[in-house]
Symmetry: C2
Subunit: 247 residues, 2 copies
DNA sequence: CGACACTTTGAAGACGATCAACGCCGGTGG
DNA sequence: CCACCGGCGTTGATCGTCTTCAAAGTGTCG
C-alpha cells in the first residue's frame, strides 16, 4: 500500500532530525506500507537484503538459528525503530537473521538504495545513522560482556531495570511487555532458568508476580546491578531519571 | 610527533577508499604520531572522547572494568584498525572503555571533530564508516550469541578457526598471536577453563601444544563448529578460502 | 469443555568457576 | 654462576549455577 500521509511515529524519529519535514516526507513517500500478522515472517536468513524497514506499528522479533536448530532472539524492534539499517551498508548482501512479527505489525518498506542515496545526499542523515548504529554496536558489546561475566539473576535484574528506566518508573509497578518465553530467549537463557531467577531477585528491591513487576526499592536494585554492570554508570537515561522526583 | 610521510598501513585502509591519495594525505597529516610502550594506557573509562586513533604499529587491548573489579577484554586492535571510530558519533561523550598498549605501539591521533568533518564532506567516507561500524556491530551480536548458546570448547574452536581463516591457513600450523591469558579474557572465560578446553577440542581436527596450533583436519573442525555457529555459513572469507587450493 | 500456548516446579546432571599447588621460563642481582 | 623472583600456564579437587528432562499447573479462546 503506498503511503499517503506520513505517520506521526516517523515524524519523531531521530534518524530524520536535521532535514526539513518536506524533504523527509518526500523520501518516506517513496516507500510502501506492509501489513504483517502475528508470527508472519518479514524476511529470513540468507535472503538478499533489498529493503530498509521502519516499524510504524507493532513489534518484530529478530532471531538467528544455527544448523542444529538452536534459536537466539537478537532483538525486539518496536514502533519507531528500524530493520536492516546496518545490513544495507555492509558488503555482505544476504540477511544474517530472521525477522518475524510478534503481533499485528505495520512496516514502511523503502528500497535499500534509497537509504544509501539519502546518506550520500544528506550528511546529517549519515551522522544520524552513524550515531544510531554506533549505539547499537555498544549495546551489543555490553550484552556480550554481560553474558560473559554476569549471572542469570544479574542479567534479569539488569533487563528489568532497563525496562523501568525506559518507562521512567523509579518506584512502582509495570507489566512485562512480552511473554516470558520471549524474554528468556532474548536474554540467552532457558525459560526454566528465567522463571526460577525471578524468585531469587526478590530480595534486591524488585518483585515479579506473573506478568507484573514491582520495584519497591530502587536504591537496593541499583546497588545490586551496579557492581557488575558497566552500563549503569554510563546510562544517560538513568542519570536523568535520578534527578526527577519519584513518580 | 607530527606526520611527515603517510605510513603504508594507512594507505591501504578500507576507510579511505574512494577518495584520492592527495585528499587522504591532507587529512591524515593533520594528525600526530604517538608512541606507547607495553602496558601504557591510551585512554581510560570516563575520560572525554577527544581523538580518533589509527593503529600504525603494535596492538591495543580494549577492556572494561566493573565496580567490583571484574575485567573483560572487549577487543584487540591491530595495525590498520582504529580506536573510538564509533564513540565519536555517539551522543554520549565519555569513553566507555579502557585502551592499553599490549606491545610497543604507534598511534596516529586525529581530533575527533576532524573525523566528523570528513564524514560530512565526503559521502564515501560516511559509507565506509557505516560499513565498518555495521560489521563491528554484527560481530558483537554474534559474540553475544556465542556466549549465550555455545560451550567453552565451541567458543575456543570457533576463535581458532577464525584465526586460521584470517591467516589463510586451511591445514597446517600457526602460532597464537597473544598470550593465553589475554585470549581467555577476550573469550570471556577463565584462564583455567581455556587451558583445559584446549585439550578437549583435540578430537575435532585441531590440536594445540603450547603456543602452536595445528589444524590437521579442517573438514572435521568445520563440522564441529558449523552446527552451532551461525557466522560460519555467513563467512565470506571462509567461502573464498574453500575455493583456494590447500596451502 | 477441550485444545493449546505459556509457565511453574522438581530432580538429576553437566559444565565452568574457584581455590590451591606446582611447573616452566626469562630476567635480575648477589 | 647460581639463587631468587615474577609472569605465565597447567593440573587437581570441589562447589555452585544453569541446563535438561519430565510432569503438572494456569490461562485463554473457539
Amino acid at each position: 500500500m503506498p503511503l499517503t500521509v506520513t505517520p506521526h511515529i516517523i515524524q519523531t524519529m531521530p534518524l530524520f532530525t536535521g532535514i526539513s519535514a518536506k524533504e523527509r516526507n518526500h523520501l518516506v513517500q517513496e516507500g510502501c506500507l506492509h501489513q504483517f500478522s502475528r508470527k508472519q515472517m518479514v524476511f529470513s536468513q540468507g535472503e538478499p537484503v533489498k529493503y530498509f524497514y521502519i516499524v510504524v506499528q507493532g513489534m518484530v522479533r529478530l532471531y538467528r538459528s544455527t544448523a542444529d536448530g538452536v534459536e537466539k532472539t537478537i532483538n525486539i524492534v518496536k514502533a519507531g525503530q528500524t530493520l536492516c539499517e546496518s545490513e544495507i551498508f555492509d558488503t555482505y548482501v544476504l540477511n544474517r537473521m530472521n525477522a518475524e512479527a510478534i503481533e499485528d505489525t505495520v512496516l514502511l518498506e523503502l528500497p535499500s538504495e534509497k537509504l544509501k542515496d539519502m546518506t550520500k545526499k544528506y550528511p546529517v542523515i549519515a551522522l544520524n545513522l552513524l550515531a544510531m548504529i554506533s549505539q547499537q554496536r555498544y549495546m551489543a558489546e555490553v550484552e556480550a560482556e554481560h553474558q560473559a561475566i554476569m549471572s542469570a539473576s544479574q542479567i534479569v535484574a539488569c533487563f528489568l531495570w532497563r525496562l523501568s528506566v525506559h518507562k521512567r518508573i523509579r518506584q512502582g509497578r509495570f507489566k512485562l511487555p512480552y511473554t516470558k518465553t520471549l524474554i528468556a530467549s532474548r536474554l540467552g537463557m532457558k525459560l526454566e532458568t528465567f522463571s526460577r531467577t525471578l524468585k531469587t531477585i526478590n530480595g534486591h528491591g524488585i518483585r515479579v508476580e506473573g506478568a507484573w513487576v514491582e520495584i519497591y526499592n530502587s536504591e537496593l536494585l541499583a546497588e545490586y546491578i551496579c557492581h557488575h554492570c558497566s552500563v549503569m554508570s554510563d546510562c544517560v537515561a538513568y542519570k536523568a531519571l535520578q534527578k526527577e522526583p519519584v513518580s
